[in-house]
Amino acid sequence: MQNEELKATITELLPAATFEEGGEWVNVQVEAADWLALAQALRNNPALNFDYLFCLTCVDWKTHLTMVYHLSSTQYRHNMVVKVKLDRNKPEVETLSAIWRTAEFHEREVYEMFGVNFLNHPDLRLLILPDGWEGRNPLRKDFEDPINMIKL
């Protein structure tokens, strides 16, 4: 499906979605509350069939956090990017691990690196960081490690 068609289909699914111009792929911005329903639709709609979540990450914009999901379809080979804006002080978003199993691991990484709380995640624990790092989120822009910080 071409980008324009994708946009039209997504607008049909979620009229509130806004599109960001530029970039090679369709870039959708959705609200955290709408995201789970849209994700299910993207995965299950036979015309879209976004079955491959190949990248899941988060960006700290200092004022807010943005979850970035890169999706593609192994059937149609089209790609899209979904962005979900989160409150920086209380970042919460529904987990996608029931839709794409890979999200489970990636969300655990984002949880510890950015402190995003994934609701209904089956196993939200620290994955990479050692015990005792809960609440300190290294990839946030304001993170300061008093002991090991290296400034370049």
Partner: protein, 371 residues
């Protein structure tokens, strides 16, 4: 570990495989719940070699951060560099000279062969056969020497820079690569004779670690792991970059979905890489090896995503730029991280001895997972 001990049922045995364990090829830590010899649960604990390359890259310039990526998946350092260089070029909209493109693809494929050679040896070593390791290193060594001559390094090459490659090829490059292809074709049958055809090896591999195509996609697997389940996933074919769309090679697919299928995919992939090298080695165009770029690179505001096929699967580089000289945020989508997540799924219910075989066929490189 204490809280985990509390959770288990009577009669279960919990063992820690790693962080120092001969089969994990690095500092991977798996907490395995066993019932006798049968695996009930595998839980990876990561981070023993986490250097936070993503955070580090935020304070490095667009020329500098590429060097750090050689340390991620150290077995396909060229390809990591390549992905970053491509991503920066996408932002700068630089046209890479034809010579540089060919050199890059040649280096990528040599790296892929070297990586698969090492995997092949280590894989057999996991199953208790030590000899294949030395056979694999015989060929890998020649590749490393070729790399050393041109790039000055054997493991972390740092050879690909935005706009092309760091320096021109060594004068002996073509001759040495041709010699390597000769050697490879003369010796490759030994691989099949020593390992692939071995009845014990086949019994250990066949029907072990079943990964269905649906699971492979859902768990975000990529590379030979998905192709062993019959899912097309070769980025070189699906989203061609550089000159891959002009080259003739096959995407190796196996439909066994088990460890043996994944094994075969990698062995056959080496042959395809040799095919690519053969097409290019006599056709390296003359010209510049690097495009003219500014001394200080500045990417325009925006987001850039580039994916490439490393030896282990799909590597994605996601750069968020604010217009400065350093990236605002970088995310590396490493193939090993997603491939590891499937381990619990495929290992549950099999024997402890098979776990190492499965880990072998997932081809985990721990710095790639931890980053």
């Amino acid at each position: 570990m204490v809280e985990e001990l509390g959770k288990t049922m009577e009669g279960d045995l919990i063992i820690n495989v790693g962080p120092q364990h001969p089969a994990t090829h690095g500092v991977l830590h798996l907490v395995i719940t066993l019932n006798g010899e049968t695996i009930k649960n595998v839980e990876p604990h990561l981070g023993y070699i986490h250097r936070s390359i993503e955070k580090m890259s935020e304070s490095l310039t667009y020329r500098q951060f590429i060097y750090v990526t050689s340390r991620m998946d150290y077995l396909s350092a060229h390809i990591n560099n390549h992905a970053c260089a491509l991503c920066v070029e996408k932002g700068l909209q630089v046209e890479v000279p034809a010579r540089a493109q060919v050199i890059r693809v040649l280096m990528d494929e040599l790296t892929r062969i070297a990586s698969h050679e090492l995997w092949w040896g280590a894989m057999a070593m996991d199953l208790g056969a030590l000899t294949p390791f030395f056979y694999a290193f015989r060929e890998r060594e020649t590749i490393n020497e070729i790399m050393e001559e041109t790039c000055g390094a054997r493991l972390t090459m740092n050879y690909m820079v935005p706009g092309g490659v760091l320096q021109d090829l060594h004068p002996d490059f073509q001759r040495k690569v041709k010699e390597f292809i000769q050697l490879y074709k003369r010796k490759i049958h030994e691989y099949d004779e020593l390992v692939t055809g071995n009845i014990i090896f086949q019994n250990r591999m066949k029907g072990v670690g079943y990964l269905s195509p649906e699971d492979a996609i859902s768990y975000g697997c990529s590379g030979p792991v998905t192709r062993g389940s019959g899912v097309r996933s070769d980025v070189r074919k699906i989203y061609p970059y550089e000159i891959y769309d002009k080259l003739e090679f096959d995407e190796v697919l196996e439909t066994g979905c088990d460890s043996f299928a994944r094994y075969l995919v990698r062995v056959r992939e080496m042959e395809q890489s040799v095919r690519i090298i053969e097409q290019l080695i006599d056709n390296i165009p003359e010209g510049d090896y690097q495009a003219k770029t500014k001394a200080v690179l500045k990417l325009p505001k925006g987001e850039f995503y580039q994916r490439v096929e490393t030896a282990r699967g799909e590597l994605g580089v996601y750069i968020v730029s604010e217009g400065g000289t350093t990236p605002y945020r970088i995310k590396y989508r490493s193939p090993g991280f997603s491939n590891l997540s499937v381990l619990n799924k495929i290992a549950t219910g099999s024997k402890l001895g098979d776990l190492v075989a499965m880990m072998g066929t997932l081809d985990l490189v721990i710095p790639d997972i931890d980053r």
